[in-house]
């Protein structure tokens, strides 16, 4: 079964192969495995892992709760800091966050499996539908959140807990942001993203309005006029262009669109993929597109990155994962021209690069890689629309330490701001902290102001 035909085709594999290929990358630990893994935690004082976690989860405490047979209490410890702790457990590059600084690395070069333990505890709570928070008495304040990604959801949840009414405006059909449309399939199986959205929204007081897009259907000033506060968490919706001839040919695709299509496909066999695929880029998106193209049955998948291995944004773990799936990663190559045959992609001409006087430069030496599909994964960009005079910094929304923008009563966080890494967990932290800042502002406003003489 399946096909090795050249061109872009669906159904390259037998049905059972799709199932195996897109199954859980790290299945949930069973009870015994969790106890053994939890037992390795030293319950460090002022633990380095806690500091490394962007949401500062009390990791030693939640692991100790697992080891004493209290996974539900453990889940609460996690959710207290990170209401999307379930997704973070699956997608965080722990090898560069909490697990990187685990003292067990010094002791024996193998950290405590913090991510997998976090998943164990949060899965128990979500699977048993155990909820930990109740809304405070309604405050009568209304807050608009734009974007139902990790940043927007974390912000909305905190605000709802405080008793405010929240309306989330979401351009897409489903909530979840890149958790739903971007994260690699094998990291969040069984529709976990939607299960988590439901879990978060069950707090009440949050209304998600899908299909409404800022800049197209309303503007920021509409929101500031009608709400007590606004949080912007739109992520990055633009994609960088290759700047190479022929990039609009059919067969040249945005990696994020390919990934979204794959995530949304109930039957992965319906997603077409090339026989030879070239991915241009060096980040997480490039890796995810390449690996998933391979898993869909592409015969040959090559990532071309214009700098060296050290400069790749994709973590060591991600690079190893790609290599283990048979993806070839090539460095110091930049795209020059997409080559067409019969109006379709047939290959890509690339040029070798080098660092010259601290600048990346083409060497003039070129070559051609045969390809019938090319994915662009050279970075996403922020597309401002309907934001009026909102101040920007490096192409994204400018914020202060608390997440406040240049416009009064407007906060922002997540990928659409220039702060921290572009990660799910960072976005959660920023959404949550913005909510705390909004709460403080609203609480102060509720106090009778006293003139300080």
């Amino acid at each position: 079964m399946g096909t090795t035909q050249s061109g872009i085709h669906r159904g390259r594999l037998a049905p059972t192969e799709y199932e195996t290929n897109f199954s859980d990358l790290h299945p949930r630990l069973d009870d015994h495995e969790a106890l053994v893994a939890a037992d390795r935690c030293y319950f460090c004082y002022d633990a380095p892992c806690m500091t490394a976690c962007p949401t500062s989860i009390d990791i030693p405490l939640f692991i100790r709760q697992i080891s004493t047979g209290n996974p539900v209490g453990s889940a609460k410890t996690i959710f207290d800091q990170n209401i999307l702790g379930g997704m973070c457990a699956r997608v965080c590059p722990t090898e560069t966050l909490c697990e990187q600084v685990c003292v067990r690395n010094t002791a024996e070069h193998r950290p405590v499996e913090i991510g997998r333990l976090q998943r164990y505890a949060t899965d128990v709570a979500i699977a048993t539908n155990t909820h930990f928070y109740e809304r405070a008495a309604r405050t009568g304040k209304a807050i608009a959140v734009v974007g139902a990604g990790p940043a927007g959801l974390a912000c909305a949840h905190r605000l709802a807990v405080a008793g405010h009414d929240v309306v989330v405006f979401e351009a897409r059909e489903k909530a979840g942001g890149l958790n739903e449309y971007g994260i690699a399939t094998y990291k969040a199986v069984d529709d976990f993203a939607q299960a988590e959205v439901d879990y978060v929204l069950s707090i009440g007081g949050i209304e998600v309005k899908n299909g409404l897009k800022l800049g197209r259907d309303f503007t920021l000033s509409d929101l500031t006029a009608n709400f007590d506060a606004v949080f912007l968490g739109m992520g990055l919706s633009g994609v960088n262009a290759l700047g190479a001839e022929g990039e609009n040919l059919p067969g040249v695709v945005d990696a994020v669109d390919f990934i979204a299509e794959l995530r949304q496909a109930a039957d992965k066999a319906t997603v077409p993929v090339g026989r030879r695929v070239v991915v241009i880029g060096g980040g997480m998106t490039a890796i995810d597109a390449a690996v998933q193209a391979k898993l869909l049955g592409a015969e040959e998948v090559t990532i071309c990155y214009r700098r060296g291995k050290e400069q790749m944004n994709a973590s060591e773990f991600e690079q190893d994962l790609a290599a283990s799936k048979g993806v070839m990663i090539r460095h110091w190559l930049q795209p020059k021209r997409v080559i067409a045959r019969d109006g379709h992609v047939a290959g890509i001409e690339v040029e070798y690069t080098e660092m010259r006087d601290g600048k990346l430069t083409g060497t003039g030496e070129t070559g051609v890689l045969a390809a019938d599909q090319i994915f662009k994964a050279i970075g996403q960009t922020f597309e401002p629309a309907g934001l009026g005079s909102l101040a920007m910094a490096s192409g994204r929304i400018a914020i202060d330490a608390e997440g406040r923008t240049s416009v009064a009563n407007v906060w922002a966080g997540g990928d659409c701001v220039k702060a921290g890494e572009d990660l799910t967990v960072t976005s959660v932290a920023q959404g949550r902290d913005a909510a705390d800042s909004i709460n403080r502002m609203l609480a102060a406003g509720a106090q009778p102001s006293i003139a300080v003489a």
């Binding site: 004082y45 002022d46 003292v103 002791a107």
Partner: protein, 437 residues
């Protein structure tokens, strides 16, 4: 190669490792397997009187506590003495002893505290060719309620009386097994000696409730909704057993009385510790019940290799070597001063030493030095208590270093005195003050 041959009150065995009287020694099948695996001797599961045997519960008999990765640390049981017919046991003992003449076979006995009962059973046992007898004065449950086991072991006069009967009615060596469920272990040991015992063995199991079933609010193991206290054994009881062995070994009244050491022995190292504190050989139960008989191979090779590496040629070279170094607190040298030292290369920066000392001791370990996470002992605060050493997860990362006489103790501001001085003469000791006046 070190000579591991053992001669305990005239009973010879190829090594000092015996199986204690318990399920591993309940019948020929097990004992044959044990001897094949290499055990030097066995104390057969305790025999009772002639007649219908005792019955055991038909539900769970054991409870346990576990450490990391469910490693068994302590076992608790509510089993009684053998529940098989006396003559079946005797027949099997005789056969096994014939098959394994070079191994020690001891009969453990528990019959009512009446002269006639002991007089009746001793010739039957002697007829099997057993090398000796062990008097079970230890079982803390079931049998004690019937006036046997610990009920006898807790009354020194009874011990002396029964031992005397046994010495009168048999030529076999008598080992008196002591219960730890008593305040001062020296009392029953002295009584056994007064009765003429050849040796004592200890400890039997400790009264315990190992855990409580929180769903049914009943002790574990729960038999039909109820539980009872059982006998505790395994690695967790070793420190208690070691102390009791040492107490008897250094008591002037029982000094030199042969001791068979029992309680929590799991590795060769545990065994060597018992021997050093005065035991002439050791008995093992829980470790065999946890891992099977093969562990004796590790025990034999470990003890032998250690003795070789230290130049000890026979068991006599190590037995009792630590006894002179066990003393009373009041004789410890108060002029010995030690400070903790953290090996920065070995430190993994978990911070446990810091929080232990900071929260619960003497605030003598830094958390930050120049703003960097760094754990270091402040010698002007350290009292040398050793807590940090014990909570550190890395072996040998923190060590206690004794201060040289003549150097300054930064905590007290005093120079370390080279002379030995203990509490009996310390100025803060009211008794010492009175004597001086």
């Amino acid at each position: 190669m070190a000579d591991l041959r053992n001669n305990f009150v005239g009973i010879k065995s190829p090594n000092p490792f015996w199986l204690a009287s318990a399920p591993p020694t309940d019948k020929a099948y097990n004992v044959e397997r044990a001897f094949k695996a290499g055990w030097g001797g066995v104390v057969w599961k305790t025999l009772g009187e002639e007649g219908p045997p005792v019955v055991n519960v038909n539900g769970p008999r054991y409870g346990a506590i576990w450490g990391a990765d469910r490693r068994l640390l302590g076992l608790n049981n509510i089993e009684l003495i053998t529940d098989r017919d006396l003559y079946t046991n005797l027949r099997e003992m005789k056969q096994v002893k014939m098959n394994w003449p070079d191994r020690a076979l001891i009969a453990s006995i528990m019959v009512p505290c009446e002269e006639e009962s002991w007089k009746a059973i001793l010739p039957l046992v002697e007829e099997t060719g057993a090398d000796g007898i062990e008097l079970n004065f230890g079982c803390p449950h079931g049998m004690s309620e019937r006036g046997m086991g610990a009920a006898v072991g807790q009354v020194p006069e009874y011990i002396e009386m029964v031992v005397r009967w046994c010495k009168q009615y048999t030529r076999m060596p008598v080992i008196t097994k002591l219960t730890p469920n008593i305040t001062d272990i020296r009392k029953p040991a002295r009584a056994a000696k007064a009765g003429g015992t050849d040796a004592v063995s200890l400890i039997n199991t400790i009264n315990s409730i190992v855990s409580v079933d929180l769903d049914n609010f009943a002790p574990n193991p729960t038999v039909g909704g109820k539980g009872t206290h059982g006998g505790y054994c395994g690695p967790a009881v070793k420190p208690i057993a070691l102390n009791m062995v040492a107490e008897i070994a250094r008591d002037p009244e029982t000094y030199g009385l042969p001791i068979s050491g029992i309680g929590g022995i799991t590795t060769w190292r545990d065994a060597a510790e018992f021997l050093a504190l005065g035991a002439g050989n050791v008995q093992v139960c829980t470790a065999a019940m946890t891992y099977g008989f093969k562990i004796v191979q590790e025990m034999i090779s470990g003890l032998s290799d250690w003795m070789d590496s230290k130049g000890h040629r026979s068991l006599d070279d190590i037995c009792g070597r630590a006894v002179p170094n066990v003393t009373d607190w009041q004789y410890l040298n108060l002029n010995y001063i030690a400070k903790a030292h953290i090996d920065q290369d070995a430190c993994i920066k978990c911070g446990r030493c810091h929080i232990a000392c900071e929260d619960t001791s003497h605030q003598a370990i830094t958390q930050f030095v120049d703003g960097v996470r760094h754990f270091e002992v402040m010698e002007d605060e350290c009292v040398g208590c050793n807590l940090c050493v014990n909570v550190c997860p890395v072996e040998n990362c923190i060590t206690m270093v004794g201060l040289e006489p003549g150097t300054l103790d930064q905590r007290t501001g005093k120079v370390v005195d080279p002379n030995y001085a203990n509490w009996t003469t310390h100025p803060n000791n009211p008794a010492a003050r009175q004597a001086a006046e």
